[in-house]
Structure formats: structure tokens, C-alpha cells
Symmetry: D2
Subunit: 283 residues, 4 copies
């Protein structure tokens, strides 16, 4: 029987379009629901109650966890789980949870104030990265090469940042900014792609091609991915790794991952994989 | 043997002073540690490792959960637990968790946008209250008596609020703003006081005196308090109730409660109660 | 000979479209220039140097004065003048300048802090209006009917407003929110329309129809408009009046006025009037 | 006869203390008035009307011009003049006014958006400085050495800056950050000191000693200072110069200058000089 899926998101981007179009062949009707007009809060029937499952893909880093929590309480089946989304939305808490489960993560310091910042700059010599605990899309992730220019950057955090925006991480600058992205659907690693940086912005990156075979054979990557899944539970994740001299570390996990670059680099049909996972979950 | 306690807070206010002074007679050395200069993040030894327990009393609504989570992972004994603090810091998630456990809470709507706000104003006729999901001390808790003036208030949320500050609750204005505050230490309800509003700000309030005997005899209050403790675990909490025609509902739970007004209204020595609880926990 | 006009604005709205379309018949080529990509600062040639005149219609209340000042210094003919735009962008300074020239304005207090706010609430009994010194489009213009709810509104100014956003005016609520809008082109009052408030937002308003004949005959309106022009110089302005028991007062002057409602209410072809004025200025 | 002076400022710092203490010997009673509780706006009597003169020393870059404008309109004698203060508070407008008067200033671009920023980075190769148009005390003045790290800094402007905070200047990094500070009282250059940068923050600086004799003999400095005074009128100013291969340029002018460092470097009694100037103005 056809199942109805709500993609809750701020807009229909390439990924959402793929999922909506792939739906019928997979026995799913997939509909976009704007995450701005749910007005959740009722304990029984909500704007989401009529769907068999909610695929939560809010790009806003402030909405996903709230919506998932309220929707789950009202009886909706939410993918990813509220618990997983809440963990992914908080870089400090996620790293702590992973480290406690023996999944390797970068060293970091929680910087709540200028005195924390000054101390972190002493504990990790530049180059270091300053990033918000809450945030996404690489926004405000700043590379600090020179300590003497760091405090004017911090002025912006201190003068213009509100409340949660003053919670930052400082960490060593790893892997020259290159990263390895693992796309997980359910409990399967469906694709891996490597990205390098370059050009006008150190955060720019370009996919280097299909690494899925190598990654499938790399027991270190597999072990890390399984470790992450042990903490978060099965779901749809983009797991971002840095390669260091001591092996891979998990930089962050995206609970509503873009998958265009990985799909193109690896040839994997990610929308089909997600549809299959939804069918499996709902059966 | 004397135990060492760190009170992690932004400053030493009346409550912290009471605890520091009460310490020696209770076999505790109590020291204030500024929550701005911890630079946490190491997995082993941190600035808090030398203490037997951490009493977390950050008034900042953005620091408590982060500090508790990182300190617990590094092996510190933190009171309240990171889980309880994280729940209390998020009014939407706390209400959801309480409601799921059959603890009565006010009706509310999660307002993430102006369209949510307009809809909530239709679902609950004014007077209503708009409050931030994250926040404390009554700040930005606004009473809306007239719908036609509500949208200029919302302009401030929309134009000046960042990210998490745009997550609000709208709820009916209950009990004329009066509230009943229950102070819990461990799993004991040590004092209850009732507050009414009045004067130049509808949020002003004044303690009405000792209600602890009545409350101890009120099975409804006891049941609600126990319900909250079942969700949060034992700890030190200020539980704020509204009395409605259908009984009490839990407005919010403060994980670092002020206790001066309750202490004065009821004559209870709260600092001693907390010290005793810390001894019990550490024994 | 055809003159070239740049409309510097954030976008092409109804007014800009009218002006662009009316241009050719008036011997003008009118082009939209995005106010976001001028990168001004050179003292000689700028992105605006190739135009005979700059019609500045930035809706942003922070860009107009800066762009006009720099463009004028680099030799551009800017309409309105930088001096007029800078005056219009600052409600406190504009009122001061008008009052010094004996043009009637509402009473007001400059509120820079909560203590100013509390004092202004005592000096003017509610209902009062709180509005930002800098701003436009009615945003954050709040009607305060009850003093006891005023301070939670001010929390938003204090907690979320930055720097200039903490500069506000408080003034009596005049004319039940109704206003009279006078559209001036050059030194001619080309149309007047009256607006009332109502509906879901007290700031909503609807044009009541053609008042231009009455206004042309109303020596009080004419005198006020001429008084404003004596201060600002000739230009294109929307002058917003409140009618009080002691006569009209100037609420504010818009230096980049919308003119659709006035055009429709009065039948005046505003675009033609502006085109004629530009021709006159450039001849 | 003794004259009464109000120092309107946010607090009493070293400079204000010096002025208050120097008053009696100079025939002045000097009183601090908190710039937060003036509630100005009346056209006749204000909280400042009882003083013979107002010395405006608000460190806030958003209050000085507003207070000066309203106080002048109400009949107060304000030093510096509202016009001078408003010019000094806006780095873009001040530079334009100086350049129009043939006073040399650094090249700069007005950056209102990311596209402006990208273009300015192309027009001036790094190292460049990004600074807010409105601001003081060196806050958020950022040195950009590497273009590829510039855009994450700009994220903070774009994501966290409100309205006026998104108005920035980009300029070449001049003189290695060293500057020459000229303190003017009335129309007299009373002291000059040179500052270099260094240490943990590139904005740190240390006075290098008494340069007043050399400066008094330097016709280039004298000419620039006189040029600034021709634009601003006589008053109390800190004029900040950069030395370039083509001579000095005026970086900025502070209308409420700190003068401790210049006083210590040169031995000049600045408080006496200011007192004398006030006497002269009021005589």
C-alpha cells in the first residue's frame, strides 16, 4: 500500500525534488511541508498527523530538533529521530557523546567567553578553527592563521552574537581543510566522497570522485561509521571526517545532509536508497 | 571527610553566598568557579576535576547544559544532571516530556515564524503570553491583551531576534499571572510559596507567605512534583505552577532556582537542605 | 537631449517600474542600479558617474544617506540631496530641525535606555507609541495601551537591539493612528490622501480617497508643507501628518516615498510629475 | 563668576575625573550627568538646561550625536557641536567631508554587502582592514591578511550584524598599524604622541613618548590639523593620523578623545587646557 511521507523543510531543493520524484515508483507519495507553518504544540492531532512518516530536512539549525521532538510526542514517526537530530544540532554535545563511545573526534575547547578564547588560542597554536557550536553550512567557520588578528574576529562574536551564538568551539586546523563525507542511509554506508578546499574561500570545496569502493574496503571508516550509528541509531546522515596522522576523526554529522555531490561523485541513487529505507521502516 | 564543591555560576549572588557560608558546618568546602573561564573540552582532566561535585548554577540559559554535558563526560559529578539541565533549558521540550509522562502543562503552540504566530493568535484568543523557548528570569515574556497590537511586538522577534531567539511559545494567559513555586531538594519538596503579580510590570510579584503546610497536605501538588521528578530525576529544582480551573499545571522548571523568596516565606533553611543533599549524594 | 537617470534602489517595485516606463516619453532613460553593488568610495569616477542624475530610492534606512553623501562628493547629482536624506533617516533629528523652524511636530522623548523609557511612560500616559529613531515601513512601531505590559516589550529593545536600534522615540498616540499623506515633487504638493487604521494590525491602513482639492485649499497643510521644504529643500517627499485638536503635526518625512496609494486615491500621474521635475533639475 | 559644566557621559573615567578635579581652580563646577537618563525631547527646559555648557563625552557611538542635536535645539551650549559630533560618528561621511576640503584621507570603499566586500578585496589587495562605519575603541576593526579567510569573517557581519552594523569600510592596511595622535583643544594642537602596535593583538599600542615639539615644527601635521578644524570647527578632538609614503592621512577623528596616553607622553596638562577653553567659550 502507498505510504505518505511529509518532507518537512524550509524549501524544495535538489534533494527534496529527487525524493518527491522518486516516490511513486517506490510506493510513496512524498509531499513538501513548510517548516514555518506547523504551529505544533497540540498533544494529539497536528498538521503532521495525516502522514505515515515525517522526513525532517529543515536546513535551519534551530528548528529540526524542536519540530522532531513535538512531532514524536504527538505520535508521528519522525526520521531522523528527535534524539539524533538534537545531538547533531549541537557540535559540542555530539562530540562528547561520540568520544564517550570511543569514536575519535578532533580535540576542541568550548569557548563561552573571551577568556576561554584567549586560553584556547594558547592551548592550540594557530592555525586553528573557530566555529559556532550551533550552525550549519559552514557559516561563521573561521580559519585563524595569526593569533594577533584573532581578537578582532572575536569582537564580532562578543559584540554581535546573541546568547547561543556566543557558544563556540576552537579546534586545531586539520587535514588542510579537506574532508571525507560518508552518506549513511539506515545502517548502510551508501557512498563516500572526498572534498578538498581551494580557491577564493578556504571553505570552498570540490568533490574528488568516487571513493566508495576504497571506503567500503577501509575498515577504519567502517568502524567509525558504525560507532556513530551506535550512538545515533540508524537514520540518514552525512558524516564528515578529517584524516589526521592518527587516523580519521569525526568532524560533524549532518542530520539533513545534502547528497548531490556524493551522488554525482559515486553514481549512487541516493533518493532510491532513502525511499527503500522509508519503506523498510514503515513495513 | 570534607568534600569539595564547586559552584559554577556567573557570579556570587545571595544563594551562592548562603551555600558557601553553610558549607563548613556541613563538612563541605564550597568554592565559586566562574562559568566564563572553564575552557572545557578535554576528555580527562579539566578545571573542574579537582572537585568532588559540581553544583551548576549558571544563570545564563545557554551555558548550563553545555558545561554540564562536558563536565560529566570528563568524569565530574554534576548536580543537576546534564540531562535534567538540558530539559529545563528548553521550555518546549520540557513541556513535551512532562506531558508524555502525564504531568499537566499549559496548552501551547510552538511559534517559529510570523505565520505560526498569526495562527496561534487565532487558536488562543487574547490575552495570551508570548515567551522565548530559551530564556530565563521572565525576560521577553510578553502579555498580549490586544491582537491588533501583537504584530508590532512580533516585529522585534523577527527583525532583531537571531536563530534560537525566533523560537517562541504562545500560550493562554493563566491564573492572572499568579504562580505557585515549589522548591525541591533531592526528592523532597522543601518549601512552597505563592506569588501574585501587580504594580508597574505585570511580571512583578510578591511572595504571599508560607504555604508549605497546605502544600504538604495538597495531594495534587505532591503528585505533580513527583511526576516532574520521575522525568528529571532527583535534584535541586524550582517548579513553577499555575492554578487553573482544571487544577495545577507546570509552567516551567528552573534548574538553578533562586530560593531567597521561598526561604523567607517559609522559614526553611534551604542552604542546609542543599548541603545535606550534597553530602548524601557524595556518601 | 535624452538624460540618463539611475534609480538606486534595492529592487524594482511598482514605483520604479512606473518611472522606468514613463522615461522615454519624458526624454529620460531610466535604469535600475542595485544599491548593494556600488562599492563607492573613490573620489573621482564611480559606478554612478555615467548618469546625469541619481534618483535614490533605497528602502533600506541605512544605505540612502551613505550612498547619497559619497555620490555627491564624487560629483553626482543626487535627488534627494544627501542632506535631506540624512535628515529624513533620523526621526529625532528631523523633528528637531522642523521644530526649530516652527513646523509643528508631535511631542516626543528620546529613549536611549530603560530609565528613559520608564520616565517617558510617566510623562506621557498610555496610549503611547514606541518607535525606532531609525527605521521605516512602520516596522517595530508599537502601540502601548497598558503601562504594565510595556516593560516586556522594552526587553526586546534592550536584549535584542544593537546600538542604534536602542535609540527610540516615545510619543503620545495621536489621531487614532490615522494620517494624512502629502506627496511633494520639487516644491509642488501633487497629491494628498488620508489613511485610517483598522483590521488585524493597528498599523494597517486604507486610503480614503482623493483629498487633493481640499488639501490644495487648506492653508494649514500648505503652510506646513512649505515649512518642511524650507528645511529640506525641494525634492520628492512623502510628508506624513497627524491631525490633532491643535492642528496638523508632521509625523515623519519619507525621502523615497511609495506613491501608489496616493496616485490611486487622487488620480495624479506621479511618475510624470517626477520625470518633469528631473528634466527641470537637469536643464 | 563660576560656570557650571555638565559632562554628559556613560561613566566617570580617568579623563572625567581629571576635569571634575581641575574645575574649581579654573572657576568651573563640573558635574557628571549619566547619558542614559536624560529623556530629552522637550523643546524648552530639559535636564541639561541648568548648565552653562555641556561637555559631551559619551563613549557610545550612538548617543553623542542625538543628545547633542536635541540639547542644542533646546538652547544648551554643547561642546563639541552637534554638527562636529555627527560628522565624527560616521567614518564614511567624515572622510568624504575631509577629502572634499582637500584634507588627505586613506583610500576606502563603502561595503554594504558581500558583493561590495568581494569587489573591495579585489580593488585593494590584502593586507586590508575591515572596519565598521559606526563604532569606536577599535572594536571590530579587523586585519585581513589572507583573502581566502576573509569571507568567514564577513559571515559575522552578514549573519549577526544588524542594519547599520552592515555598513563597513575596507581600506589598505597602512603604516603597519602605527598611528600619530594629535590632541586639539579649541584650535590649538596641545599634544602629539606616536603609537605603535604589537603584542597579542595587532591593535594593541603603546605610546612612544613626547613628539609634541617635533609635531609643532612639522608643517604637514599643522596643515592637516588646521584642515580638520576648518571642516569641524574648533573643539576638543583626537585626530588620528597614519604616516604613508605620500605623507600623513587622517584615519579618524574622535570627538570625545581619551587623553591619558597623550598627557603622559607629552606632560601636557590636558584638563587645564580644556578648562581654559571652556572659560573662553563661555566668556
Amino acid at each position: 500500500m502507498t505510504k505518505s511521507i511529509a518532507i518537512v523543510a524550509d524549501r524544495i531543493a535538489w534533494e527534496e525534488r529527487q525524493l518527491i520524484e522518486a516516490g511513486p515508483d517506490l510506493g510513496l507519495t512524498v509531499e513538501w511541508i513548510n517548516d514555518e507553518s506547523l504551529c505544533l504544540g497540540q498533544s494529539d492531532v497536528t498538521a503532521l498527523s495525516r502522514f505515515d512518516a515525517i522526513l525532517l530536512r529543515s536546513r535551519s539549525y534551530t528548528r529540526g530538533g524542536l519540530i522532531a521532538t513535538l512531532a514524536e510526542e504527538s505520535g508521528s514517526r519522525v526520521i531522523n529521530s528527535a534524539r539524533a537530530i538534537n545531538l547533531c544540532e549541537n557540535k559540542a554535545v555530539l562530540r562528547t557523546a561520540l568520544r564517550a563511545a570511543n569514536v575519535p573526534v578532533p580535540e576542541f575547547r568550548l569557548v563561552l567567553s573571551r577568556s576561554d578564547f584567549a586560553r584556547a588560542l594558547k592551548e592550540f597554536a594557530p592555525p586553528v578553527v573557530l566555529k559556532p557550536v550551533y550552525g550549519g553550512m559552514g557559516k561563521r567557520v573561521a580559519l585563524i592563521r595569526d593569533a594577533d588578528a584573532a581578537h578582532s574576529l572575536y569582537d564580532y562574536v562578543e559584540d554581535l552574537g546573541h546568547a547561543f551564538e556566543q557558544a563556540c568551539l576552537v579546534e586545531p586546523f586539520l587535514a588542510g581543510g579537506a574532508s571525507t563525507r560518508c552518506l549513511v542511509v539506515g545502517d548502510v554506508l551508501v557512498g563516500v566522497a572526498e572534498f578538498t578546499t581551494g580557491g577564493e574561500d578556504w571553505r570552498n570545496n570540490a568533490a574528488l570522485g568516487n571513493l566508495s569502493r576504497a571506503a567500503a574496503d577501509d575498515p577504519e571508516v567502517t568502524k567509525i561509521v558504525n560507532g556513530v550509528l551506535d550512538v545515533l541509531g540508524p537514520g540518514i546522515y552525512g558524516i564528515d571526517l578529517f584524516q589526521t596522522s592518527e587516523g580519521y576523526v569525526v568532524n560533524e554529522v549532518n542530520h539533513a545532509p545534502g547528497f548531490r555531490a556524493v551522488a554525482q561523485a559515486t553514481g549512487v541513487n541516493v533518493a532510491d536508497a532513502i525511499g527503500g529505507y522509508l519503506q523498510e521502516v514503515l513495513s
